[in-house]
Symmetry: C2
Subunit: 346 residues, 2 copies
DNA sequence: CTGAAAGCGCTAACAA
DNA sequence: TTGTTAGCGCTTTCAG
């Protein structure tokens, strides 16, 4: 049997037991060097005896010391978000910060005030994982209200501010998309189609960049959701056209759906159809055939975002140097030269 | 241009501007009925003018009113965890609570104190998403220290306490595993093999329950990790034995890996091999062939966990009645009768 | 209906 | 090296 409901010990309780002032206890807790060893020992004993643990709330309130971040996103399940969140949490915990999350409904038209209301108090630090319109808007709202306490990740398109780099972390998915598209072109495809995620992200831009640069026809991108199902439907339609020999997908889930549609349409991969995804999720290597895709280091970006935020808050140093992997095309089995015998159309 | 660094307005500021005491402002904010309409109007005007937003920290400190939960888990990426977290957040936000997360390393041998240190202060409420040894241990540590402020989800096996139901939410994955196994047996399989997730969860028990009940041979379960890769390796080995005609997998990722291995081994599905997963993740329906699996309502469980916690904290009512879907076997294309022509062995 | 006083648990600034 | 006095922004309790 344990003592169940005894109130938690406070600084005062420890001070009394140790026969010192509460301030001295505070010093010990905070590793101040200005405490005599003997005193420290006494205090520490009392701390142990009472199983004292500092109260984070009181600490933050009194000190004005921020030790927590709120992360705003629209989905805890979306791969990129989940990984980014994991990275933030990892770095935050290592630095002694706590992290709260608040998820926004992608379909809700939040006002600036709505967004602000998600924070524990005015001016409290936040990181927004920006990847769609809603999170983009949230980012801008926070950016206006508390320039110093906000950092965002993802979605290049979501801001036009030039000093962007001081408070945002982005992955160069635009460049990566261009490289992936060129890879397909180099393989001999006449053009590349695009299944787009709801985010009007760099991927879409990079894709058209590469096509334009190569002087190829730029087909209309097909708007999909985030999920497999939407890509499956979209691809079914797209594949009615035998001239479609290559598809760049906005993420691995879309590629997954496209793969399924291709299979059902009797298209051989990569002979009849090449498919490239984005994210390099764990399943990508285990699809049949294994998916060519772009590795995106969301976890690293999450860590970087936290570091950037911390530096702004603590006003020391400046932007951390990137400690995450740059996007990289992982060529596997779903991309290859178009089979001349099967290019029925065009 | 906005005013960038002006300190946030406090209750006092509002009070001054409205010409009332800060106490009255507090009443207005908290919707106390004991305020004259005229006063309320004045106050509200001041609130708007100053863009006042209450400080959650101060509120909790002063009132002793808890408005936040900490969620403990080992992985933000694992499907079950991510969904459960989403459910908790959803319910928590609706109730005006904030949610923090803290992730534990599955390989770290945490002491009870380590676990407690993850909370903002002694006695603060927590929900642990328990699905492996580490989270199970964390659950027990918290359970001892603050019986009223903790609720856990998942992993039936992780506790032996009989009054369990008062502070835990579990899904009957044991029963579901038994049903899935029987489904396979009914289809004509002699026995069913099992690819096990690291959690010694009900799934494993249900599987052996059903086999024992039917008087069949119970093969040794194959220990896998959480991921596709581990199942792929395990299945490759398992499939060397032609007598293996049915595999129940601990989750959909494992089923995914097994599917890939089966494909490479030249096994026709479901003719040569039946595979069943767990979770009914979005991709399950889009695998080729589509995966037979068990729908598990993690999100609902997350919501339920929060509700249960809240009731304990607010000491009102009792256990909420389950508002989540019971596990259900979704039969798709990977389960079928063994093809007599191909049962080379046994 | 409203205000004044006290205090949540802690840190900061100063004094001793 | 230590203690004292404020006060963070709010809620609670008690008087008016």
């Amino acid at each position: 049997m344990r003592t169940e409901t005894r109130k938690a010990a406070s600084l005062m309780d420890v001070a009394k037991l140790a026969g010192v002032s509460h301030q001295t206890v505070s010093r010990v807790i905070n590793h101040s060097p200005l405490v005599a060893d003997a005193t420290r020992t006494k205090v520490l004993a009392a701390v142990t005896a009472l199983d004292y643990r500092p109260n984070r709330l009181a600490r933050e309130l009194a000190g004005g010391t921020v030790q927590s971040v709120t992360v705003l996103t629209t989905d805890t399940t979306l791969y990129g978000s989940a990984e980014t969140l994991g990275g933030i949490e990892e770095a935050a915990r290592a630095a002694g910060y706590s992290v709260s999350i608040s998820v926004l409904d992608p379909d809700e038209p939040y006002s600036d005030a709505d967004v602000m209301a998600r924070l524990p108090h005015a001016g409290s630090p936040a990181i927004v994982i920006a990847h769609d319109d809603t999170t983009g808007r949230a980012m801008r709202a926070l950016r206006q209200a508390q320039p110093n306490a906000i950092v965002a990740t993802g979605g290049e398109h979501l801001s036009e501010e030039p000093d962007d780099k001081d408070w945002r972390i982005t992955l160069d998915d635009r460049g990566a998309a261009a490289r992936a598209t060129r890879h397909l072109l180099d393989l001999g495809h006449k053009t590349v189609h695009h299944l787009a995620i709801p985010s009007k992200a760099g991927r879409r831009l990079g894709w058209s960049d590469a096509l334009a640069e190569a002087g190829r026809e730029i087909p209309a991108p097909v708007e999909c959701g985030w999920g497999i199902g939407s890509a499956y439907e979209a691809a079914r339609e797209l594949l009615d056209d035998p001239a479609v020999t290559a598809i760049l997908c906005g993420n691995d889930d879309l590629a997954f759906g496209a793969l399924r549609a291709a299979h059902l349409a009797g298209r051989a991969i990569p002979g009849d159809l090449s498919i490239i995804g984005f994210d390099d999720r764990p399943f990508a290597a285990y699809l049949t055939p294994a998916l060519t895709t772009v590795d995106l280091d969301f976890r690293g970006v999450g860590r970087g975002a936290f570091e950037l935020l911390r530096r702004r808050l603590e006003r020391r140093g400046n932007r951390p140097r990137p400690a995450w992997r740059a996007p990289e095309l992982i060529v596997r089995e779903t991309s290859g030269p178009p089979d001349p015998r099967t290019s029925k159309g065009a």
